[in-house]
Amino acid sequence: MMAAPEFLSLALTIVFVTLVVGQILSMVRLVLGPTSGDRILALDTMVINAIGLVVVLGISQGVQIYFEVSLLIAMLGFVSTVALARFILRGDIIE
């Protein structure tokens, strides 16, 4: 069995690679996406992957100052998803 710090650094590397590949693949869906619902979904997934990247960066550096960053990204991502969906549904964001 591996020692604990090496196992953690290996897991951190795997998570970073997975999140970056995830960003790239959802960017492919953002460019391809036949409908605008797919594009909104791909943007939402990219925002969520960005939250994961910031959280994992905080773990790898051992600091907690990235908490506010990820909370702000989460709020902005939700509001932007709802705004894009409202714009397609109603033709207007705030009626």
Binding site: A4, P5, F7, L8, L10, A11, L12, I14, V15, T18, L19, V21, G22, L25, S26, V28, R29, P34, T35, S36, G37, D38, I40, L41, A42, D44, T45, I48, N49, I51, G52, V55, V56, G58, I59, G62, Q64, F67, S70, L71, A74, M75, F78, T81, V82, A85, R86, I88, L89
Partner: protein, 124 residues
């Protein structure tokens, strides 16, 4: 085995669980061939995948000595907002007609997203 070693192993295992869910969700987003089916996969990334990463962050800060539970706030926020945004995207799919039109509702005339307000006014 001291508590620090167990905490480090738990952090790494939760990170790997989160990475697995993120990978599954993104592959599903890319490979499925129907807009409503594609909506199904990435919502798991938003809840379980990022949830596991945040739990790993909590355990890691607890292992380092200065325990913080701020991450639970992000977790609660994501658990509340992920179904809402998924519902909005599903309504966009119904509205644009990119999926099979759902069956007629029992009591009301039609689905809210399938008819514009002008048509409703003209009908009444």
């Amino acid at each position: 085995m001291s508590g620090e070693i167990i905490g480090t192993y738990a952090t790494a295992i939760f990170l790997l669980i989160g990475a697995g869910f993120v990978a599954v969700g993104v592959i599903g987003l890319l490979k499925f061939n129907d807009p409503m089916t594609r909506l199904h996969a990435p919502t798991k990334v938003g809840t379980v995948g990022i949830g596991a990463l945040l739990v790993a962050s909590i355990i890691h800060s607890y292992t380092l000595g200065d325990s913080s539970y701020h991450e639970l706030l992000i977790l609660a926020f994501l658990f509340v907002t992920a179904p809402i945004s998924a519902n909005f995207i599903a309504k966009v799919n119904i509205h644009l007609g990119t999926c099979e039109t759902p069956p007629q509702p029992d009591r009301d005339d039609t689905w809210a997203t399938l008819e514009t307000p002008d048509e409703e006014i003209a009908k009444s």
